[in-house]
Amino acid sequence: MDRRDFLRKTGTALAGASGALSLPVLTSCADETVHADSVLEGKRWGMVIDLTRCRDGCTACMDACRKTNNVAFHDDARWDVHWIRKATIKPKDESVGHEEKSVLLMCNHCDNPPCAQVCPVQATYKREDGIVVVDHHRCIGCRYCMIACPYNARFFNFKHNPDWPNKEYPQRSHGVVESCNFCAHLLDQGKRPACVEACESVGAGALIFGNLNDRNSEVSRLATGGFAKRIRDDWGTKPKVYYIGL
């Protein structure tokens, strides 16, 4: 056996041995990529806000939201946090009319969320069921998402909130950003968001919530019915909150 032969043979043997040895390692790596079984698969939560049924001066949904989610209210516009709020809009172009409208505004839970794209620590992300959530354990309070959000739906906790009406749900500490999460903790338990329940208990029924993936649900029927609009659909954020009568 000359030198060249020797090298070739040992090289082949070594390659074969390393391949055989690395096979179990590779397969075990592949196993680890399987993450926890998701209970969120197949759902795509969405909401339709029927402004024609929404009553003037009614604050049932906002009060329920504050109570359920411990949303801070300091009675000072600089520090208040709103997950759902009412704004009065009137047309810029006066030839269209002078009619003022009261519109419910909240996190639109975009399918293409700008806030999640800019978050430097991936604290804001889209859950598998389409809800855009903030992981407050991770949030560093940089407020980049507040700048990115075109709907002004995000608020920063400038102060500690002394009120804690619902002890079963955590508060937010000072220095994190928060926004509506469709009451994800209630959805996971099979319940509906607090604002929807409140709106129904008042009798208005202006908030309709459900699974957009389900063709037979009232939400998807209304959302695809031709009357529902989304705020600034042209931006390409693809919100999952639809408005009727906007």
Partner: protein, 173 residues
């Protein structure tokens, strides 16, 4: 011109003395400190396995050293994947009612800052403590110290710092 900084024979001895002091002093101090601190190892963990602990998620040994891993895993499941209904921080407080003994005792000894209770609820005293920490002028409603069965109470410890769950009578010990 005075040239005291040059290493003459006299200066050399002076510098040698200074440097040897610089080396010997910290060494000696550490040796003295080590000798003095021997025999003063503080008992951090509470030695009282309660019968209730069998109903805990893991055994006491695991929970002492790895509870943070467990909590982080549960956190990921709940926050990222929506799997709820398991371990909760408030649920820990159902058995371990005294946060001073259950959490703060070790965390203060190890000087690891607890960040859970700025947001999460623990059944006892937490809201008041956090309020005090964040704003000393704000005072929550005062709360009485926990009622302790005098038969169970260890006379050597302060009455206010005893967790009834941890001070259960030890049998077979």
């Amino acid at each position: 011109m005075k040239r005291s900084t040059v290493l003459t024979e006299k200066n050399r001895i002076r510098w040698a003395t200074v440097f040897s002091f610089l080396i010997i002093l910290p060494l000696g101090l550490s040796v003295v400190g080590f000798v003095l601190s021997r025999g003063q190892e503080t008992e951090v963990f509470l030695e009282a396995p309660d019968p209730k602990w069998e109903a805990c998620y893991r055994d006491a040994e695991y929970m002492r050293y790895h509870h943070m891993d467990l909590l982080k895993d549960v956190r990921e499941e709940v926050v990222r994947f929506g799997i709820r209904g398991g371990l909760t921080l408030a649920g820990c407080g159902d058995c371990h009612t005294n946060r001073d003994q259950f959490c703060d005792r070790c965390h203060e000894a190890a000087s690891v800052r607890l960040d859970c209770y700025g947001c999460h609820y623990y059944p006892e005293r937490v809201a008041e403590r956090e309020l005090e920490r964040i704003n000393p002028t704000l005072q929550g409603p005062g709360q009485e110290p926990t009622e302790i069965d005098p038969a169970v109470q260890d006379p050597e410890q302060e009455p206010a710092r005893i967790d009834p769950a941890l001070q259960a009578p030890q049998e077979g010990r």
